[in-house]
């Protein structure tokens, strides 16, 4: 079974601190975090207002918040060896729902709208999850289908009409730009969700089962894990987070057309992959996915500062995704080679003892057989 942060079985005689440092330096997330820091430092060196102006600092945290939410949901799904391509469509539908609720039910408290959006997203995710887990069909196909279906419903519902900022209550829009102690509310929300998801995946039994299912679905089933239920939960969570992201999208941008969130699914998958969540499940953390999301959108903003036309942003993102998965591959190859070397060393150490014990067992077994 693949474990999120690979620990070295042969490490001996180090204290807890040493192990902690080792875990941090070995963690896959550290590399991506360093890349993020590098981007911010270079961009700030070119133009100090990238980080040190109030607007720059706010944008640094605010811009990626919505993608962080979707990337966390996507990471949950990918860890179970599935993928959710419908998040962009769910985001769009939920954002439009938020707008419509504010228009059609005047004076509705924003908290009710928020609950409605999250529940709506969860229901859409439930449809995905139920089809995938119960009918046992590949997630890629189902969520590709619902990507179209949900988007179609959105276009049929919205038509060519648009929801504008003037249609939305002011206190709701304030949520999108407001700050607490200089930190944007959206970033705080994203961080709360991130910490909750990370804690769940790392510390709870059912959270660990996500990794077990992603490592080997058949083995998880044989072991008696509730694979169907966990996969459905992953999709419901992804849908609910996409619903929340839709609500925040409405609050942040104010204008919602029927094409809101188009192409968002590939950004979310890309963020998770950059952050070290293996596309075939069983490894990675939501921290990585979140840092990947921040890195994606920060590069987007840093390129013009560095002097590259921002048209090249997508090419850089593509190169980054490829670089990240190649790096993962190299690291995992090195890891398995080292484990194999350690195993060989152990077998040669214990070689003589093992062979003698093997003969012992053989004699006992033959003895038993003659007894029969």
């Amino acid at each position: 079974m693949t474990v999120a942060t690979p620990t070295r079985p042969g490490s001996r005689g180090q204290g807890a601190v040493g192990r902690g440092i080792r875990a941090v330096t070995r963690a896959r997330e550290t590399g991506i975090l360093l890349a993020l820091v590098l981007v911010v430092v270079v961009a700030t060196a070119r133009n100090p207002s990238f980080l040190f102006s109030p607007d720059g600092f706010r944008d640094l945290l605010l811009t990626p918040s919505i993608l962080v939410l979707a990337a966390v949901g996507q990471a949950l799904v990918i860890i179970t060896r599935n993928v959710d391509l419908s998040v962009g469509s769910v985001l769009g539908l939920s954002a439009y729902l938020a707008g419509r609720l504010f228009i059609d039910l005047e004076g509705i408290p924003p908290i009710l709208v928020a609950v409605a959006c999250v529940l709506f997203g969860a229901v859409l995710g439930l449809i995905n999850g139920a089809l995938i887990a119960i009918a046992k069909v590949p997630a890629l196909v189902i969520t590709l289908g619902t990507l179209y279906a949900y988007r179609g419903i959105n276009v049929a519902w919205a038509g060519s009409s648009r929801i504008n900022a003037s249609d939305l209550p002011r206190e709701f829009l304030a949520l999108g730009t407001g700050q607490v102690l200089g930190i944007p509310i959206l970033a705080i929300l994203a961080l709360v969700v991130l910490v909750a998801a990370a804690w769940y995946l790392r510390n709870t039994r059912s959270g660990r089962e996500f990794y077990a299912i992603g490592s080997d679905p058949a083995a998880a089933e044989l072991y008696g894990l509730r694979v169907t239920r966990r996969v459905i939960i992953a999709f419901v969570a992804s849908g609910a987070l996409a619903g929340l992201a839709g609500l925040l999208y409405a609050a942040r941008y104010g204008t919602i057309s029927s094409s809101a969130g188009t192409g968002f699914e590939l950004q979310a998958v890309g963020a998770a992959v950059i952050g070290g969540v293996a596309i075939f499940g069983g490894s990675g953390t939501v921290w990585g996915a979140a840092i990947g999301a921040v890195l994606l959108l920060t590069i987007n903003r840093a390129l013009p500062v560095i002097g590259v036309a921002d048209f090249w942003q997508r090419a850089v993102v593509g190169a980054l995704i490829i670089g990240a998965i190649v790096l993962d591959r190299v690291l995992s190859l090195r890891q398995s080679r080292r484990l194999a070397a350690e195993r060989d060393a152990q077998t040669t150490d214990a070689g003589t003892a093992e062979s003698s014990s093997a003969t012992a067992t053989r004699t006992t077994s033959t003895g038993e057989r003659t007894d029969d």
């Binding site: 993928v83 391509l85 089809l131 009918a135 046992k136 069909v137 590949p138 890629l140 196909v141 189902i142 590709l144 289908g145 619902t146 990507l147 179209y148 279906a149 949900y150 988007r151 179609g152 419903i153 959105n154 276009v155 049929a156 038509g159 029927s258 188009t262 192409g263 590939l266 998958v269 890309g270 992959v273 596309i279 075939f280 036309a309 048209f311 090249w312 942003q313 997508r314 090419a315 850089v316 993102v317 593509g318 190169a319 995704i321 490829i322 998965i325 190649v326 591959r329």
Partner: protein
Amino acid sequence: MTDTLTSPANSTEPVARTYRSHARPAWQRLLLTREVAIIALLVIVCVVAASTVRGFGTPITLRYLLLDVAPILLIALPMTLVIVTGQIDLSVASMVGLSSVLVGTLHAGGLPIPAAGLVALVVGVLGGALNGFLVTVVGLPSLAVTIGTLALYRGIAVGLLGTTAITDFPDFWTDLAQSRIAGGNVPTITIPFLVLAVVFVVLLHFTPFGRGIVAIGLGSEAATFSGIHVNRTKFILFMLTGVVSAFAGIYYTLRFGSARGDNATGLELQVIAAVLLGGVSIFGGRGALHGVIAGVLLIGVLGSALRLANVTSDVINIITGVLLVLSVVSSSFLAWLHRVRARPGRRGGVGTAAG
């Protein structure tokens, strides 16, 4: 005994075999398939549309239908082969965009269209080779690789041209892209499509290479041990996808007379939806090209008929999505039903719970 071994096909004496060579009779094996179901659905939709939608049966509808689905038809051919091996290529639409931009910028830079097109095709081969290299040599999952190259190729296309569009193409070439065969109503693009279709049908269904493709999809390791060059096959298939996508990009550019970085965005999902609708298994090892072609045409015909019937285009999206979901869920359901019915000797109520 030796007689039957040397000429088993011509021997008149009954071969002493106690089992049937096939589980089902020939007509069932030929007619009760996913491909035939999709073709039947296509025929039904065509008949219903022709009789109820005014203007659907006219030649001009057919012509524009073929012009519009041509890029999807073209790319669906190599994509089928890739998916049958159990891989996927999400970067095709970005390659269409990149090839379109290359044709545009090179032509604006003074190159004649054939030379620009040739460069675009070479870039298509190289792009496919990069995918193939990362998948086969480095050993990465194709889903992750092609999400990366999807962004990369699209990024290069947008980076080269920005938000501008190149629309200045010689009339000869833009007319050719829209022209019809011998003044009839079938667009000229169907000729290269038919040629490619024949090539790919022969390649997949009638060559050892094609049997190898199916074998890889059924079990990559088993295929290796039976002497199939698994990596070489996959590499070739990714290059084929790249070059056909580049060709579709050239057509796309000339058909609309416009080279833009964002040309054909999202086309990859349409292609994959059509391929899967046509009965190809996403797990690999199963699929036939006639089903795929019917799948592409089905989506195209539905879209065209609904547009003529003044149903807004969004319903087409819903139908595409629902068809896709239904096609996989129904096959999964039928397989389950088959298992339940075929379960031998379950008379008592002992453990009848499924799965």
